[in-house]
Symmetry: C2
Subunit: 84 residues, 2 copies
Amino acid sequence: MSYKAQVHVSLKKSVLDPQGKTVLHALGTLGFKEARDIRVGKYFEVALEAADEKKAEESLRKICERVLINPVIEEYSFTLTKSA
Amino acid sequence: MSYKAQVHVSLKKSVLDPQGKTVLHALGTLGFKEARDIRVGKYFEVALEAADEKKAEESLRKICERVLINPVIEEYSFTLTKSA
């Protein structure tokens, strides 16, 4: 079965986000005064093959925790859907 | 009023994603044979201040199109919610 996952990775709330601060400062300089805060993360679209949804979720968790994210400073969430 | 937005940026389907290909290859090398395709994008959490939802959406679109994304090769979507 084919599955598609959308994975969001963001820095834990307690971790400073200098990239976000830089973007926020740039927005201020460019006149976008509405922005109050920005945090920058990563977004992955993963297509994977698995016997069933449980196996797919298991594989995806392993992929996230061992490769895509750094569990010390980042957290992640995902949505998994069956694709045609 | 305070609003929170989650912005997803990904490369247009027609644009090659060498970063994604590299991650996919790394996964193969590490034994995660289930992964078939990966595309890498960006994810922003934006907090902004605006008079109403329409204004917030307008500001956010400008911020996305002029700063956060490159409209030539990237596309974006967002969800906007009122925050307390």
